[in-house]
């Protein structure tokens, strides 16, 4: 599998808007089937949440998803083992909190990701200033550490985040936690514009992207979107992998329809 950034740049070069759905690792016994569903519905990469007991950047839905996974006995290791055993055809990005990294030791943690075929890493509570150590270990292991940018990030920090982030730049569209919202936040447009002016690296908008319309709108501002809670809520409510895959496909279609040059043949699992 190619690296996250190479892959995302390739897809973007085809005129495609990028779609990166999120899945809490181990949320159900058949969680890998959801990941397969994401991939076949046209995901360009998949974020796999490594569940943590105290997810301070997550709203109630992803908190509940993490709790459920943990109650099933899921661990960082068990998620990585299951991932190592499958080939999904798109880059995988681990998303988690720093305690799980520190617990294993950053070097061992990054090596374990790489060994499981996970090429990207996002750590919600490691901001730019604290990222040096982790970035070093990630680079050594061949893992791309993606940094997050926020609407309140000042110009200098934003430039450094854009320069040091790998894979893509995660533009947090709003001041808040993960969760569904009625509309794309007003702060998204400005942040996306500031970032795209600073860097040629893919810029993805995340947080609150809840519907195909949101995705299409956000994709006019940036290179693509990250979608999490809208999918996890359905999984928590008992939707099957095929049903959730159809939701991802709907997002894919909206992105393709809204994109300047449409790419066909990607939305294969629409039900």
């Amino acid at each position: 599998m190619t690296g996250v950034e190479v892959h995302l740049r390739e897809q973007r070069a085809r005129g495609r808007k990028l779609l990166v759905p999120y899945l809490t690792g181990g949320i159900t016994a058949d969680w890998i089937e959801y990941a397969r569903g994401y991939a076949s519905a046209g995901a360009d990469a998949i974020e796999i949440g490594l569940p943590f007991s105290d997810p301070i950047l997550d709203g109630p839905t992803i908190q509940e998803a993490s709790d459920r996974a943990l109650a099933r006995g899921v661990t960082t290791r068990s998620v990585l083992e299951e991932l190592a055993a499958v080939r999904l055809g798109v880059p995988l990005i681990a998303m988690t909190y720093y305690n799980l990294v520190v617990h294993e030791g950053a070097a061992a943690f990054c090596a374990a990701l790489a060994a499981a075929g996970v090429r990207g890493l996002i750590v919600s509570d490691v901001p730019l200033d604290e990222a040096d150590d982790l970035r070093g270990h990630a680079e050594t292991a061949g893992v791309e550490l993606t940094l997050l940018a926020s609407p309140v990030t000042g110009p200098e920090r934003l430039a450094r985040i854009a320069a040091l982030s790998r894979g893509f730049v995660y533009a947090v569209s709003l001041m808040g936690t993960t969760g569904e919202r009625d509309r794309v936040a007003g702060s998204a447009a400005l942040l996306a514009r500031r970032l795209t002016a600073l860097t040629d690296r893919p810029v993805l908008l995340g947080f609150g992207i809840s519907t195909p319309d949101h995705a299409a709108e956000a994709a006019t501002l940036a290179d693509g979107v990250v979608v999490g809670t809208a999918l996890m809520r359905r999984i928590l409510d008992g939707a099957t992998p095929a049903q959730v895959s159809a939701v991802v496909a709907g997002m894919r279609q909206a992105l393709d329809a809204g994109s300047p040059s449409e790419v066909s043949g990607s939305a294969s699992v629409v039900s």
Binding site: I56, N99, V102, H103, S150
Partner: protein
């Protein structure tokens, strides 16, 4: 009864720690105390933390701010709090015990020292709201009090389980005009309330000030809260000098939840030969049973399972039900300058009863941890006969009556 306090005490060999130069000074540029501390927050909170650090530095160096705070501490909080020789207990134990009486501070605990400082700072920064988490409710009550006094709206996040255990304080906060938000996630105690307060803070950083209740959270909180609590140690240092022929006690003991009353106390004695002892609840003893981790914005010792998941703390004292410990304490433990020990719930209840009976003082369950260790150590001979011990009584036990009625 009077021969206890003035008995001359000589330092025993080995109790001099002058060679260990751990100071409780400023953390480094990244907010580190040794390997601990830092600013592990989502990017959305970084500007707020930086703004706060700047504002606190300026305020702390501004004589007018210091004067305003000192006056508030005097006329509102009732400072200085006395140091009380525990005559009868001293005779029973054969060691000289002095109590630093934070239980006599307004609202019933040391939490008011920190909160008055932060609320003044919030107002100076132009914020209109205070957000806080609370465990025992003491920090919440103190914050509600400061909010009422200084005209700031107050929202307190509190674990549902703690709301049951500390119903009296919930009522008090509401009476003081604060909004109390029940937290139903996870263990429904202080850890989850802290997470929820931080989640809420992200949504309103412009108008709201996050008022941390202990020496934890991202930089600058651990440093700032210690500075605001050092009034305990500074006062006690002077009071001990007047009370003891040796000037400085042999032992300085305080309970540790996040560690603010202990940090404030230790700060007054870290440059002396006094042995510093922090007492944690057996079921929440991060310094003893924790491993290095990152929780709520800082690196320190954290109670966690084999997979790196943070575990719930368990203590009869809601204020000590926290799975981490302030980063400066982790550093003091690493360097050996302070020692961290644990006591059990049963020892704590016995200590409450003993102090009530011997001195007519009803300590908070949290504070009784410090007393409990002294009882045990005097009994075992670890505290040599005739030595002097300063114990910080961080709060009073009125809030714990219901819990005690169930256990006694």
């Amino acid at each position: 009864m009077s021969d206890v306090s003035l008995r001359p005490v000589s330092l025993r060999p080995g109790s001099t720690l002058v060679g260990r130069r751990t100071k409780m000074g400023d953390p480094d540029r990244l907010g580190r105390f040794g390997d601990h501390g830092g600013q592990f927050v989502p990017e959305s909170l970084v500007p707020a933390c930086q703004e706060l650090e700047q504002a606190f530095r300026e305020a702390w160096a501004d004589p007018r701010f210091r004067r305003d705070l000192d006056r508030l501490l005097a006329v509102q909080a009732g400072r200085p709090t006395p140091v009380t020789p525990a005559w009868n207990l001293s005779v029973e134990l054969g060691v000289t015990i002095l109590l630093k009486r934070e239980d006599l501070a307004h609202t019933g605990s040391h939490k008011i020292n920190n909160v008055l400082g932060q609320a003044l700072l919030a107002r100076r920064m132009g914020k209109t709201r205070l957000i806080a988490e609370t465990g025992a409710g003491q920090h919440g009550v103190a914050t509600a009090t400061a909010g009422a006094l200084l005209g700031l709206r107050v929202t307190v996040f509190m674990g549902e389980r703690d709301m049951e255990r500390q119903a009296l304080n919930v009522f008090r906060m509401r009476l003081l005009g604060a909004e109390v938000v029940p937290v139903t996630a996870g263990s429904r105690t202080l850890k989850d309330a802290t997470s929820e307060a931080m989640r809420h803070w992200v949504t309103c950083v412009d108008s709201a000030y996050y008022c941390a209740g202990s020496v934890m959270g991202p930089h600058p909180y651990p440093w700032m809260v210690r500075e605001l609590q050092r009034v305990i140690g500074d006062e006690a240092r002077t009071q001990c000098a007047a009370e003891l022929s040796t000037g400085v006690p042999d032992y300085v003991v305080a309970c540790v939840g996040g560690g603010s009353n202990a940090a404030g106390t230790f700060a007054g004695f870290v440059d002396t030969a006094a042995r510093l002892v922090g007492v944690e609840a057996e079921g929440g003893a991060a310094a003893t049973f924790g491993r290095v981790g990152v929780l709520h914005g800082f690196r320190s010792y954290v109670l966690q399972d084999d997979n790196g998941q943070v575990v719930e703390a368990h203590s009869i004292a809601a204020g000590l039900d926290y799975p981490g410990i302030g980063p400066e304490h982790a550093h003091l433990a690493d360097s050996g300058r302070a020692r961290y020990v644990t006591v059990s719930d049963d020892e704590v209840i016995a200590a409450v009863a003993r102090l009530a009976r011997t001195e007519g003082i009803l300590p908070a369950l949290e504070s009784a941890h410090a007393v409990a260790w002294v009882l045990r150590a005097a009994d075992s001979g670890e505290l040599p006969p005739g030595c002097t011990v300063l114990v910080t009584l961080s709060g009073r036990g009125d809030k714990d009556i219901t819990a005690l009625m169930e256990r006694l």
